[in-house]
């Protein structure tokens, strides 16, 4: 009897979960394992702000409960980080010193907060809000925060600062409109957003970037290029997201900004696929690679990766551009979706 396939998916986000479901629906017998370095089950990242501010509880945050994995005979392994991949021996090396063998692998490792190169030296000062742990951490800080500073160049940051303002925090927002993410902003649009935020009592500084950051006791002091000084008791950074591929480098799997995959989402090893925020996908028309970060994109890619792993040849196409509303401004993006909270 041939040995059972062991499909391993690294990442318990929308891409990984969709892939696992498709694999199970089409292969009743294979072993399927999802690995995630997070302890918390599959959850809606875009609802983290509501969770932090107490609008929703933990259960509402969850997309899937453990029992659903059990029912589908999908082994979910939480809190376990893959540190190294050896594609030749098809072995994953986990941080807790375990070797896990796979027959086919899907990388759905998502993305992490980006830090502007000019601010990299201040990285340790920043509090990020990217996953459940971060949210739980911020939730516990919120009570004591009075005048937070948010350095922001993305949509997540805008949602975050609005949540702070709803909680009556005296927040300052540094808007980096030139490197805004996931779409470009020109000065006109940036101004419109600033006005809208200020209506919500959010002090918004646009076009005057941070020069230095220093500490005074527990506080953060920001000096801007124009010489302004802003003081805050907490410092957050939201500058978009970059694929989470640090641990893949050196494994032999081709990477650039993300994991390089062809139009079938297949990496340079035939049994390895990548999907979701971490994938950098070849576009036949553009004859170039593209990264798309966003919830629904990830689901679509997870599905395609799984079908192709099972032997189909589905081609992934970039999602069509959608228009949506940011603080009254219409913006266009093919990645991001305005998701219901």
């Amino acid at each position: 009897m041939p040995k059972k396939d062991h499909y391993v998916i690294i990442g318990n986000g929308p891409a990984g979960n969709k892939a696992a479901d498709v694999l199970r629906e089409n292969d009743r017998n294979a072993r399927i394992t999802i690995l995630s370095d997070e302890h918390f089950s599959f959850y809606y990242r875009h609802k983290l702000c509501d969770f932090m501010s107490g609008v929703i509880d933990e259960d509402t945050l969850k997309v899937k409960f453990y029992k659903e994995y059990k029912e589908k005979n999908i082994r979910l392994r939480l809190g376990q980080r893959v540190e190294k991949i050896d594609p030749d021996s098809k072995t994953l090396f986990l941080k807790h010193m375990e070797k896990l063998r796979y027959t086919k692998l899907i990388l759905a490792v998502g993305s992490a907060p980006r830090v502007l190169p000019s601010l990299l030296r201040y990285k340790d000062y920043f509090t990020f809000m990217s996953n459940y742990n971060d949210a739980a951490n911020v939730k516990s800080m919120l009570e004591n925060i009075k005048n937070p500073i948010v350095i922001g160049g993305d949509l997540i940051g805008i949602n975050f600062i609005k949540m702070l303002s709803r909680l009556k925090k005296k927040a300052t927002f540094f808007m980096y409109y030139k490197s805004f993410w996931p779409f470009d902003l020109d000065i006109k649009k940036a101004d419109a957003i600033r006005l809208s935020l200020e209506k919500n009592n959010i002090k918004t500084i646009s076009g005057d970037p941070v020069k230095t950051i220093s500490r005074r006791d527990a506080d953060y002091i920001i000096e801007t290029e124009s010489g302004r000084e802003i003081e805050g008791d907490a410092l957050f950074s939201f500058m978009g997201r970059i694929p989470n591929i640090q641990f893949i480098k050196g494994s032999g799997i081709d990477t650039e900004r993300g994991i390089l995959v062809n139009e079938y989402l297949q990496a340079n090893y035939k049994d390895i696929y990548a999907c979701g925020d971490c994938a950098q996908i070849y576009n036949l028309e553009l004859k170039d690679y593209w990264i798309s970060i966003g919830w629904e994109n990830s689901i679509l890619q997870g599905e395609v990766a799984a079908y192709n792993l099972l032997g189909e040849h589905r081609i992934i196409k970039p999602m069509s551009k959608k228009i949506f509303n940011v603080e009254g401004i219409k913006v266009k993006t093919s990645w991001w979706n305005q998701l219901k909270t």
Partner: protein
Amino acid sequence: MARKIDLVIEICGSAGEGTISAGEILSRFMSSQGFEIMSFDTYPSEIRGFGKCVAHSRISNQKIFSPGKNADVLVALNDVHSISQLPFLKETGILIFDNKPLRYHEEDKSIAGWVEPGIISYGIPLHELAQRAAGSSRGRNMVALGAIASLFGINAKAFEESIIKRYSKKSRIVIDSNVNSFIEGYKWAKENITKINGISFESPGIKPSRKKREIINGNEAVARAAIDSGIHLFAGYPITPATKIMEILSKELPGRGGVVIQTEDEISAIGNVIGAGFAGKRAMTATSGPGFSLMTELGNLAIMAEVPAVIVNSQRGGPSTGLPTKTEQSDLNIAVKGGSGDSYRIVLAPTTVEECYECTCLALYLAEKYQTLVVLLLDFFLSNSIRNIDSPKKPAIKLLDANKAPGNRDLKSYKRYKITGTGISPRAIPGTPGGMFVSTGLEHSEEGLPRYDSETHEKMTEKRYMKIQKALKEIPKPKRSGCKKNIKVGVLAWGSTAGSAREAVAEAEKCGIRAAFMSPLSLSPLPVDEITEFANECEILLVPELNSSGQFADLIAPYVYKKIEKLNMVTGLPMPSEDILSKIKEIAE
């Protein structure tokens, strides 16, 4: 009111990894901090080798009566052994494991590979930290204790001091390496682990206990009681789980004018005890199933010749050599009925460590006063489970000298087996002037001379029966708790299962079930009146016990006039109160 804290911590490792000592240090320390503790260890039957050991500790700020079924925290010092312990970890429990072992594990040998998603696992580099602290990985157990202290809000400074105290008789190097390993574990967990689960021992209501509490297990309590009751001789042949009693007495008795003899087998051991008893000295033996079987015939001699003898039988899984390191309650039949002829004897079954002490004192007293065999039924769990208790009260003077010696009038024409109103005959100690008598295992006349006529046998059988029944007055009455009337489910439990039953009944009441609990100390003679009364008050009677046939249920059946619901287990582990509660709920529906 202090927040309720009630947690079970299990440490699992290989023999020789310091698993049991880590559990013991934790329990002792938590006791000193004012907590109630109940802990016990399981370890391999084989003396050599690297078998699985588990130190199980329940720590609570409430009164506890059972060890608790599933662990809130499992510390895996060894992945392979701990994998088989994972099913006993609660679905939302915490796993602490070594995430930097010496080499990579394959998937099936790595505990992390088996963890279900609801469990929170904290990987800690136990080997690495122990190496760093002491240059060897032996201190992994202490690193784990340090991590426990950090994760669950335990006072590290006080804990450190207790480790120093524990190793105070060892060399400086040993003390330092243990303490340093503890500190490394504590610091590492503080700096590297973001706590997810709210489990904590922190509670403003809890204060370190000022009253010195004894931390002892059942075997230690028995040995202590034997000394306090003035035994002169202990004879025994080593056998798990009773050996510890002999070990303690062999250290303690000689210095107090007593004797400990390790005999060639169990028959010889009981022979020695009967010899000492005959000579008027308090004596005792301790054994387990296989040894107890060997003692049955000489036990009959003690009954027939009316010689005081006490046998402690710490039950383990049987029959035969069975399961040496597992607990069971399956020697009830042989203890109560395991003799040829109508061999009436006294059988006491303590339910707690405190009662192990009290019952040993009582057993030695009753054996002497009623001139017969008294069996004390412990089990592996009770023998080994450690409790923190208030110092036991020394036996009353009355209990220390119970022999009814013949008076001058008796000695004029001395009848060793004189029929009296109580069944107790004045007993002359050999050497008493005028007190010469013949003693035999044959049926005998009042003088002790062999007699085979039916009249003598009837009278003497009645005498031996009667005195045992009279002894019942001197044994504490069955304990009761729970509802007093309109009882839906009554739980009647004995020995070490009683604690779990008592907790289960309390929980059942919280769930709105009218439940009650009763547990007799004396299995022979049976407190029939109380048992019948209790059974009559209950709509349904449940008897949980650790044997497969329901030995106690069958013993009381003639007195309860109703069908008995049985809950039997032979898992080798103490009966969990959770399982009794489920059964109560099931039958109450």
